[in-house]
């Protein structure tokens, strides 16, 4: 591989890695203790090694996505197995938990809401429940349609009917109105 080709490929991979970073941030995956800089670099290294190893490798899109998934899984595992940070030693470093933490009343209320939401979702037929759950997880309608092998129109109908039914059940349980 000549130097010009190497530079072009490295630039392409670097550009893609920056997009990975943007997606991690926009999906708030960085809240799970992962280091976005590390992931950006790791994706770049893994893709580059594949190209370096095999001069004929073309990097199919499905392969690129798998590299992203495996890099993320490794990063999350590393974050989850990381030892708990030590407690601060000086008094100034102590956090005022009383003001920072949610009140017990509010936590109990949230837990009750969650149980009711779960109940109402469980009551939906599976065909409608899964698209609604994916929607609540932040998936776009087109993504739900692609994953569930549905048309966009069918996915939209299942999600909206399911959401409406869930809200109606929550109202009937006396929990008031909910937004999406």
């Amino acid at each position: 591989m000549d130097i010009a080709t190497q530079q072009r490929l490295q630039a392409l991979i670097a550009q893609f890695s920056r997009k990975v970073r943007m997606q991690i941030e926009s999906n708030r995956l960085d809240q799970h203790g992962i280091d976005v800089d590390d992931i950006e670099q790791e994706v770049r290294i893994r893709l580059w090694k594949t190209l370096e190893r095999d001069p004929k490798a073309e990097l199919p899109a499905s392969y690129v996505q798998k590299v992203v998934v495996s890099t993320l899984v490794d990063a999350v595992r590393r974050a989850q197995s990381r030892p708990i940070e030590q407690l601060p030693e000086s008094e100034e470093q102590w956090v005022d938990w009383q003001h920072d933490r949610r009140s017990p009343d509010r936590s109990a209320g949230d837990a009750q809401h969650l149980d009711r939401v779960r109940e109402c979702l469980s009551a939906l037929p599976q065909r409608r429940r899964v698209p609604v759950q994916l929607y609540l997880q932040g998936y776009a309608l087109q993504e739900i349609a692609d994953l569930s092998d549905l048309t966009l129109d069918a996915a939209r109908k299942l999600v909206y009917r399911g959401l409406e039914e869930t809200k109606q059940r929550l109202r009937a349980l006396g929990l008031g109105e909910f937004d999406d």
Binding site: L9, K66, Q126
Partner: protein, 153 residues
């Protein structure tokens, strides 16, 4: 006052989450389920796990970017190969063309010799001459010239 968000309540309630194997997530991403029931189970489990749903969504959202990267890499890698191969292919194509041209220009020896066709009166299609009577018919009746001039003087 705004109403509580159903999404926020649902996501917050799934804080304790363990990330799946990369293979399992890649299987969902690639749509490798085997049956409709297995697909629904896999998607249901994914929808129950905000962490895994987020990991998969990152990869899913990068679909078009991954396609673009794949196409660009292919282009970068194919162009130098094409340049390297071009002289030999061009030479081969040129020699084939030249050979075909030579063969087509060479007079064919086994061609049928041309013969004169003898025409019999019965085979005549038309013996009409347009230079006789027609030209007479258009002459002026008084035989007077319309225009006489000598351009040499």
């Amino acid at each position: 006052m705004t109403n509580p968000s159903l999404s926020a309540v649902y996501r917050d309630g799934r804080a304790e989450d363990v990330v799946w194997d990369a293979e399992r997530l890649a299987g969902v991403l690639g749509g490798q389920f085997g049956s409709r029931d297995l697909r629904d189970d896999a998607l249901g489990a994914l929808a129950d796990s905000p962490l895994n749903a987020r990991v998969l969504r990152v990869a899913l959202s990068l679909g078009s970017e991954a396609e673009a990267l794949s196409a660009a890499v292919r282009e970068v890698r194919v162009v130098p190969v094409a340049r390297r191969l071009r002289p030999s292919w061009v030479a081969l194509a040129a020699s084939v063309f030249a050979a075909a041209l030579l063969v087509s220009l060479k007079p064919a020896q086994d061609a049928v010799p041309s013969t004169m066709v003898e025409q019999t009166p019965a085979q005549t299609i038309s013996a009409l001459s347009f230079e006789g009577a027609t030209s007479v018919a258009v002459q002026k009746q008084d035989e007077a010239p319309i225009f006489v001039a000598d351009f040499d003087t």
